[in-house]
Symmetry: C2
Subunit: 118 residues, 2 copies
C-alpha cells in the first residue's frame, strides 16, 4: 500500500465543508491512516468500526444480509459514515450541516483511489 | 403503552414492499414488539440494536456527536434501519430493492404514532 496517497485522500475528505475528519480502519481495528482533528481519538473511531462490523456480521449471519457495504449513524450533533473498501472501513466524521450529497460524491472518488492503494 | 396499537404500526411497516419486518427494542435489549418473518430471530435484532447503540454511545462521548437519532446499515442483500423513539429503537429490515423514500415517509408516520403509545 502507498501511505502517502492514502493520507492525501483522507486529507481531501477532511477538507470538505462540515467534515471533521476521516480515517481508514482495518477489519480488526488496526488504524491504517487518519486525518482527524486533535480532539478525536483514532482509537475511539477504531472501536466504533469494530462495533458496527459486529452488528453487521450478526445481520449477515442471522438476517441473510450478505457482505457489509456501508453504514451511517446520525446523532443530534453529527453524522458518522462507514464504507467498506477492500476489507477495510473508511470512516468520515461530519457535522449535521455537512451536505450528504457532496460527501457521497467525494466518498465515491476517494473509495476508487483507496481501492488501488490499499 | 398500548400494545395493540404498537403491533398495528409494526405490521403496517412490514406490509411495505421490500420490507421483511420491523421490531421495537428497548435500550437495554428488551423486545417491546415485533412483526418479523419466521426466519428472523428477534433476539438477533435486539443484539444488533445493542451494538449500534454502543457504537453511538462512543460517538456521543468521544466525538461529541450528541444523542443518537438513527442509523442505517447497508449490506449486499439488504438494509437495516434503526430509529430512536422515546429511548427505544424502531428497527426495520428491508431488501436492497425497498425504496428508502417510501420507507422514510412511512417511518415518520410510524414514529409519530409510537411516540404516543410507548
Amino acid at each position: 500500500m502507498s501511505e502517502g496517497r492514502i493520507q492525501e485522500v483522507l486529507e481531501s475528505l477532511k477538507a470538505i465543508k462540515g467534515v471533521h475528519g476521516a480515517a481508514i480502519i482495518e477489519k480488526f481495528g488496526l488504524i491504517k491512516g487518519s486525518a482527524l482533528p486533535g480532539w478525536v481519538d483514532p482509537e475511539a473511531v477504531a472501536a466504533m468500526v469494530t462495533l458496527i462490523l459486529k452488528a453487521s456480521q450478526r445481520a449477515t449471519k442471522e438476517l441473510e444480509q450478505g457482505q457489509f457495504y456501508n453504514a451511517i449513524i446520525e446523532s443530534a450533533k453529527g453524522r458518522i459514515l462507514f464504507s467498506e473498501v477492500k476489507g477495510s472501513i473508511l470512516t468520515i466524521i461530519a457535522t449535521t450541516d455537512a451536505k450528504l450529497g457532496i460527501i457521497n460524491l467525494k466518498l465515491g472518488a476517494a473509495v476508487d483511489v483507496l481501492r488501488e492503494h490499499l
